[in-house]
Symmetry: C2
Subunit: 332 residues, 2 copies
């Protein structure tokens, strides 16, 4: 029900995902009066893999997360997460209120033992393909121990989803040298080094995020969110300046028409939304957050991300790795 | 002497700046054996506005700043800063070791009363022109009080250099709402609100940096450095993907030739180096840091920035504003 467009986007995306994944079933949780008309003309083969779960209310995009947790037990978000907690669904995908999704996720699904807080992770385009980054805004004040937890969770996820045997993990910092950075990253670096199962490659600077030198970039949510949003802002600036440049004369307009396929390809390659689907790691269940502004195609990527995490059983894998860590923190 | 290219870049840039600014004189501080041959063929009108000051050594790009302060009193950086402290020069421009420039600047020029640490500020391209941002990496652990100091210094600088009567000041945060962010920015926001002379417009998110909604964006050096470097990384990624896209076929190569002026224009508009010249605010003197990789044209921008700050007498203006603040912190 959430995001900028609600069921107009999420339902068609779900129907397409059912076509792409023949063994997938989907629970559509929300106002059945709105959703029913959108699925009524489906093929029988698709329709029988849909379960419509009615919810009386919706968590508003600007609602306080703690209010949502206490008072919105009849909301689509609450019921969807509960269906994961009860084992009726393997994953929850939402384009709704991020803060509420985290707080409700934590309240309903519970954290994995050894993890204090969920972290938001997403794929980032690089020169060589893409890497992953976390935390992207779930945690504003992180300790070194939290950064270690993020590194463990992210490493397990990247290993499984990307099928990389030993993902290179880097800590985001303002310099590559050991003496650089604040106390939190310096201490985190020492903790990460002590983990023999982590392929920790050291500090990475902001520009290293896009260079492809790491498979996983770890940072606190304040820094990660601002870095990512800054880059989104720069992307928009580039688009707007390109438009200005290409409309300055008739000749340039003609050029723009010719170059359109190239520019469109570029935009798609760099669009963070193309690899839409941020995972909330650390919960005892799979929760994927879509951009609120995602169209049907992009929302489909978030569903694919959830499918992939369900197939890989990411929470169980993280849990297993954490158990070893909890029994032997130094990894020796 | 510093930066990737040393006098090969800085000397021609200085000569050009002397042509642009008829009332400017420049002290070239460094190895006179290297510099002399580079200026020997100048017009007499230029030559008489150059003073060559010999320095025996150079602070290396990877030298520890505290070592440089104690042991490099014969270095070009030390002597250049000392010439500002002694009033022989109005400003110092360097492409050298940033950390050393800060530590030497602080040691030789001293801080303005009421300012604890220098902050690095630079211009950032926006949809509508450009804005300014600080701190970009000088301070890794900032208190709310430091952020207030940055806001006061930056505001004075933007007002003078950009001739904006009441620059809009924003605090970088992970959300625009009051409840968002870490303790440091929440407290800083309260402090900024209490300053009637600051045109504080509230929190701004990462993407707001490029939207032009603020004239000055304030953040701690850890976050600012990572945001800026991330954007530089993204810029490089865009360039590399553009190159890939435009070389995929013969047709596209031809298109690239036609579109080259447009793409070059775009690259120049967005190049952080184009507005090269980061100011170290908070010192009792003007110090401008150029990108180490700047070419002669870009290094010229750093010189222009120093000229402009000297004309406006920025440190004195900041000092004046601070004195009022120190006598009446709440601004009432």
């Amino acid at each position: 029900m959430g995001g900028d467009f609600g069921p107009r986007v999420t339902v068609p995306a779900a129907l397409d995902a059912l076509k792409r994944h023949p063994s997938l079933s989907i629970l559509l949780v929300g106002d059945s009066h709105i959703i029913s008309p959108l699925i009524v003309r489906c093929d029988h083969g698709i329709l029988e893999r849909i379960e419509l779960v009615h919810a009386d209310s919706v968590v508003a995009m600007d609602e306080r997360p703690t209010f949502a947790l206490r008072r919105r037990q009849d909301s689509s978000m609450y019921i969807a997460l509960q269906s994961v907690a009860e084992g009726r669904a393997r994953a929850c995908v939402s384009a709704g209120n991020t803060g509420a999704l985290m707080v409700l996720g934590r309240g309903i699904l519970q954290m994995l033992p050894g993890i204090d807080r969920p972290a938001i992770t997403s794929a980032i385009p690089t020169v060589t393909g893409h890497s992953h980054m976390l935390d992207l805004g779930a945690n504003v004040d992180c300790s070194a121990e939290h950064l270690l937890q993020f590194a463990i969770m992210g490493s397990v996820m990247v290993r499984a989803v990307e099928r990389i045997n030993s993902p290179r993990v880097a800590l985001l910092n303002i310099g590559a040298e050991e003496i650089k950075g604040n106390e939190q990253v310096k201490l985190a670096s020492r903790l990460l080094k002590e983990q023999p199962e982590l392929n920790y490659i050291g500090f990475i600077e902001g520009d290293g995020v896009f260079s492809g030198e790491a498979d996983l970039v770890v940072c606190d949510g304040f820094v990660g969110n601002i870095a990512l949003k800054s880059c989104e802002g720069l992307s928009r600036l580039v688009s707007s300046k390109l438009k200005q440049s290409f409309t300055r004369s008739l000749y340039r307009r003609a050029l723009a028409l010719l170059a359109r396929p190239v520019l469109k390809e570029l935009q798609q390659q760099l669009d963070p939304g193309r690899r839409n689907g941020a995972s909330l790691l650390g919960l005892q269940g799979i929760v994927v957050k879509s951009h609120g502004s995602a169209g049907s195609h992009c929302f489909g990527h978030a569903i694919d991300q959830a499918v992939s995490e369900a197939e890989m059983n990411i929470p169980a894998r993280i849990s297993e790795r954490l158990e070893r860590y909890l029994h032997d923190p130094s990894g020796t």
